[in-house]
Amino acid sequence: MNKTLTIAQWELRRGLKSKAFIVSVFMPFVVLLISIVPSVLAFSGDIEAKDVGIIDQGNGIYTEVAEHLNEQFQSDSGEAIYTIQEYQTTSENHDTLINTLVQDNIAGIVIVIQPDFMNNAGINIYHNNNVGLEEISKLKGAMRQYSMEKRIVALGMTKEDMDYVLERPDVTVYEISDSGDAVKSNLIVRYGVPGVFLWLLVMGIVMSSSMLISGVIEERSNRILEIMMSSIKPNQLMMGKILGIGMLGVIQITIYLVIILIFSLYGGAMLNIDLSPGDVFTPNILWYFLYFIMGYFMYAALYVSLGSLFDNEREAQQSVGYLSLFAVLPIMLIQPIMMNPGTPLTGILSFIPLTTPFMMILKIGMLSAPLWEILLMMVYLLVWIAAISWAGSKIFRTTLLMYGKRATLKEIFQWIKA
């Protein structure tokens, strides 16, 4: 056992010093940021002052619309952002005038209120490329609100009646768990947190795979193994590697939890969403943590034992990399599962060992998997980890000093059965 721990310690230290590990820890967040920052930037920032033209085609509401827009689009000091002017067009010059106004930036935005707009004749907004997504979205909302107010007044209601009708009633959603407890439904807790953990586990495994394989290949190609085999047994080497690399996974998830904690403290305000540490750090976090670690250990055992079949890193990465597809599969299926959590697909994938840790993370979060199922699947996964380690050690023992010869699938099964 001491030698196994010595090897584990060595692998852990090597891993912590490697650039590949540092990349594998932070890359998932970099990828996540790259995917959401553009959206955040698109919808942030102040709306710039500009000229807006209104073409009111016979409704007589220019003044009302201009007042409404000045109320909706104000600077922090309360001043109207837009300089609004009315334009008149004829059927002959309508398109030409709009093009000229917009292209020459005489009026960066032109709002055309068509005849009888209240009966869905429509409002058209024309703009040049100086107007961003957020401003367009707000303009559309402002014009829709104006239309609704006009209709309500036309029906004989007052603005106060309209505000009363439009006031959103407080609707609270509760989920009754199998134990009969009514828990307030929280989309972030139900979908966001398990989704993030799933993403981190997949990225952690995919990013770490190259580090895991290259370590084994280095010892084979540098002929370090022969020196090691004079002092230790193949099982000790394999277990030591899996343990050491597994500990890297523990460190990785701990770093992730710290980053998630920091995000839950400050991210809600940044993204204007309702988020607090209590939403993220629920009792389920323990199960996500345990399934993360078990998933990491299982893939470490697979990569170490199968990596030993190859003499060079390129071939090993190509062949063993197919395993990563199993890790990526749950990510690809996350949307259909979120839309229909009770789908049989969830159950089937839970029983395929290579996808079990990922599916259980989703099931715990989205389907409130009962405690007996969580514990049973944990035992199921541990049995598979033991089986993979046992089969892997047989492969490892046979291939250690085998150079220049590629093992066939038949030979691999024979070694496992021997």
Partner: protein
């Protein structure tokens, strides 16, 4: 010390080692020679329990090699390598711990051997920064860090300049004076002539000559080169 009793080993129908028997007493430097592909490395791996013989028995100090204490055996294989990105000191201490050398002792022994092989200034450098010869010295230190009573050295002089070969030879002589047993496998006949008390020559898995080095040299015109060429050539005919 080491008794090999009729061991054989085959790989996919090819008999790599065929009924070899040897008896190497304590304190002897034994030359283990043969052409490429003769079965030397397979035999040495069986002594180290890296491979198991298909038949026969290997005992070390009276105990089967599969169950004896390997922590006092040093092994320097012909094809050898070390972690390139690690520091010299860390690698030596790591392998020392794998050979069950206590942590405090492994550091002291590492310092002793760095000084003995004149690489004390390189101890905190990465292995990749060392020349091939200095890396060979590190590999030798790894083989002897556990203070072995039986040493198996397969081509230990490869990659060393004459000065360092002399240092290594002196170390082998020191080990012999300390009554340690050494199996020396090398193609450098001069080294065998200078260092080995006894020797054997194996070819196609069988021993074709065995005895005192001087006796074998005398039979073949006073030179092991002649002995090698004559005996291996005769067998091929």
């Amino acid at each position: 010390m080491l008794k090999i009793d009729k061991i054989s080993k085959s790989f996919t129908g090819v008999k790599a080692v065929d009924n070899i028997s040897l008896d190497i007493p304590v304190g002897e430097v034994f030359g283990f020679l043969g052409p490429n592909g003769a079965g030397k490395t397979t035999t040495l791996r069986m002594i180290m329990d890296i491979l198991q013989p298909d038949s026969g028995l290997i005992t070390i100090d009276g105990k089967p090699s599969t169950s004896c204490d390997h922590t006092r055996i040093g092994y320097l294989p012909e094809e050898r390598g070390i972690y390139q990105k690690a520091k010299v000191r860390d690698v030596v201490e790591y392998f020392g711990k794998l050979k069950s050398v206590p942590v405090g002792e492994v550091k002291e022994r590492a310092i002793y051997w760095f000084s003995k092989l004149k690489i004390q200034d390189l101890a905190d450098k990465k292995v990749a920064e060392l020349s091939k010869g200095n890396q060979q010295k590190v590999q030798f230190i790894i083989a002897v860090i556990n203070d072995p009573i039986l040493m198996i050295l397969d081509e230990p002089f490869t990659g060393l300049d004459p000065v360092n070969q002399k240092i290594l030879q002196d170390i082998i002589k020191d080990f012999k004076a300390q009554n340690r047993t050494i199996i020396l496998s090398t193609h450098q006949m001069a080294k065998v002539e200078e260092n080995c008390d006894s020797m054997c020559l194996i070819h196609k898995g069988k021993i074709i000559t065995l005895g005192k080095t001087k006796d074998i040299m005398e039979k073949h015109g006073g030179s092991l080169d002649n002995a090698f060429i004559e005996l291996v050539g005769d067998t091929d005919e």
